[in-house]
């Protein structure tokens, strides 16, 4: 059988392998350094490209966004990427007004509360058609306390349709604050590689119940405990805070849930606006111009462009630093190599005295470098291959969590 590699090369590789194996600690350290040098720029570019893709695609698919006057960046990040709770500065009234103009479709958002760190997004059923979301299982929410999970949450928490989740308390020490609501998973979205994968979607009314704007309790007429009652007469029955409220919506108590006050005044954190055409968009934007306007309407794509520009500027700086670190690391590796040669002087002297030709000595040293580079490249490639399928998740984790 003919060897695919010439014998001299085989011998050089064999001797090189023996050297590297004998000095395994040094070898592994060098391989680790080179692996980092090789893979870091690739991984950085991979994640930045993925971030750009996710940010841009989400933003360009959202034509306009209405929110509280202030930082347009905060508005876009909280409404499109669910980064933080957003101030509930809008109302259903505004949503209705926009809808009645006939200029656009609207999707209201109430971004507040969490389920174990994952954002609860109160919205309408139109959200799923607007985002063209597919369902991996189940359906959209129909009843109070129904919830739809993003694909990654379901996978992370091991949840399926029919399971229950609880909203998190905002403040354990605030007895007058919201209390956890038990919700039922009725649907799980397909993986979309967007912020939706990490969201818990509920009907607006469900999110208002969590906020304490709506509640359910036993019929006051049936309560015998007088300490619960503030007022009871022929026309009015009022209970005090001692009245126990349901923290779970069931088939039996569903009809007891109700909302007080005018729901048109109920809060929203943002409104997604999908205008029919450019003229409609311009007209809608015109409604938010003026000193007395307390809201703003933004084009998320423009806002994200500014963010991306900043990210790229930072990336340039990071690239520069990475290059500097790479140069320093290479210098250090060169020093290690030089010191290694010094330490191996007697070995090289022996080779010379035995009659080893210069080319053979050089080939031995080159074989060592080659093996190290092959190992480092293999590790780098493996590292990148491992990260590749999770790049979306890692990007969202870094940017949006």
């Amino acid at each position: 059988m003919t060897l695919p590699v010439e014998p001299d090369l085989m011998h050089s590789l064999y001797i090189a392998w023996q050297y590297l194996r004998f000095n395994r600690f040094k070898t592994l350290t060098i391989i680790a350094c080179i692996t980092v040098i090789l893979s870091l720029p690739f991984i950085l570019k991979l994640l930045v490209d993925e971030a750009e893709l996710q940010l841009r695609s989400r933003a360009t698919s959202t034509p306009l966004l209405i929110g509280e006057l202030g930082s347009n960046m905060d508005l876009v990040l909280s409404s499109l990427y669910f980064t933080d709770d957003a101030p509930a500065a809008l109302s259903m009234d505004l949503n209705q007004q926009i809808l009645e103009t006939g200029l656009a479709q609207v999707v209201p958002l109430y971004r507040r509360f969490n389920v174990g760190g994952f954002p609860i997004v109160g919205t309408s059923i139109d959200y799923f058609s607007f985002r063209k979301s597919g369902f991996a299982s189940g359906r959209a929410f129909l009843y109070l306390s129904d919830c739809v999970l993003g694909a990654e949450i379901a996978e992370k928490l091991g949840l399926k349709v029919g399971d229950n989740v609880f909203s998190s308390s905002e403040n354990l020490f605030d007895l007058a604050g919201n209390y956890p609501l038990k919700m039922t998973v009725v649907g799980i979205l397909e993986m979309s590689h967007s912020a939706d994968d990490l969201g818990v979607f509920v009907d607006l009314k469900t999110s208002w119940i969590i906020a304490g704007l709506g509640h359910g309790h036993v019929d006051l007429k049936t309560i015998k405990d007088s300490t619960v009652m503030l007022q009871r007469d022929t026309s009015t029955i009022r209970a005090n805070a001692k009245l126990m409220q349901y923290n779970e919506v069931t088939m039996d108590n569903r009809t007891s849930f109700h909302f007080h006050g005018d729901m048109q005044g109920y809060p929203l954190s943002a409104i997604i606006v999908d205008p029919d055409n450019d003229r409609a968009a311009a007209l809608l934007k015109g409604r938010f111009i003026g000193d007395d306007v307390r809201q703003q309407i933004v084009n998320p794509a423009n806002v994200i462009d500014v963010l991306l520009e900043r990210i790229f500027q930072i990336k340039k700086l990071v690239d520069g630093v990475t290059l500097l670190i790479t140069l320093v690391a290479l210098l250090a590796l060169g020093l290690v190599f030089a010191i290694s040669m010094r330490l191996r002087e007697s070995e090289l002297d022996t080779l010379f005295k035995l009659g080893c030709i210069r080319g053979a000595i050089a080939r031995l040293l080159l074989a060592e470098i080659t093996l190290v580079m092959i190992a480092s490249s293999a590790f780098s490639a493996s590292f990148i291959a491992i990260i590749w399928p999770y790049r979306g998740f890692i990007t969202r984790l870094l940017i949006f969590q």
């Binding site: 014998p7 001299d8 011998h11 064999y14 001797i15 023996q18 050297y19 194996r21 004998f22 000095n23 007697s346 070995e347 002297d349 022996t350 080779l351 010379f352 005295k353 035995l354 009659g355 080893c356 030709i357 210069r358 053979a360 031995l364």
Partner: protein, 226 residues
Amino acid sequence: MTILELSQLEIRYPHDEFHLNVPSLQVESREKVALIGPSGSGKTSLMNVIAGIMLPEAGEVHFDGIKVNALSDSERRQFRLSRIGFIFQDFGLINYLSALDNILHTYRINPALQFKKSVIERAHSLAASLGVSSLLHKFPHTLSQGEKQRLAICRALLTQPQLILADEATGNLDPANKNKILEKLFSAVDEHNATLVVVTHDHALLSHFDRTIHMDDLTGRARSHA
């Protein structure tokens, strides 16, 4: 037949006061020669010149009709690989290679020498004859001085050289092993029609050699009693 001839040899080191003059030295083919002298008298330097490791300042070195000092660097390397078996004073073993790989090392680093199965078999045979068969998988740093020396001898003999140069080949061995090593060296000389030159301080071994050369006699200096 004279196989090794040195004439008007002058050995110096740059920036060093060391100076060795050898007017004449002749060694016959298959002769076993002991080279003795006090420390610093130039024994190792002389061996290096004979092997072509270093060049003399002046003079000539002839081996088997080849003018060694006239060869180029690569020719002298090839000369050493193919004709000389050198046993170094510090053994010259490679610490990251096993004992067997050390013995075979010359064949692995020299493209002109064919690395065949018979070479490996010969290596095992040499190791057995020198009593290091059980050590072939071990690394030099785990071996005793005597074991390292026997390994170095195996490596030198593997290429079946014409000239064996041994610098203190028996220095670290007990008397019984010294005789055994010498016996092996002598049988290799006879087996391969090789010539043997051994640097030694051990006067007890001199009677085994065909001829003893004192460095002082060689250089014409008054003999010292070091």
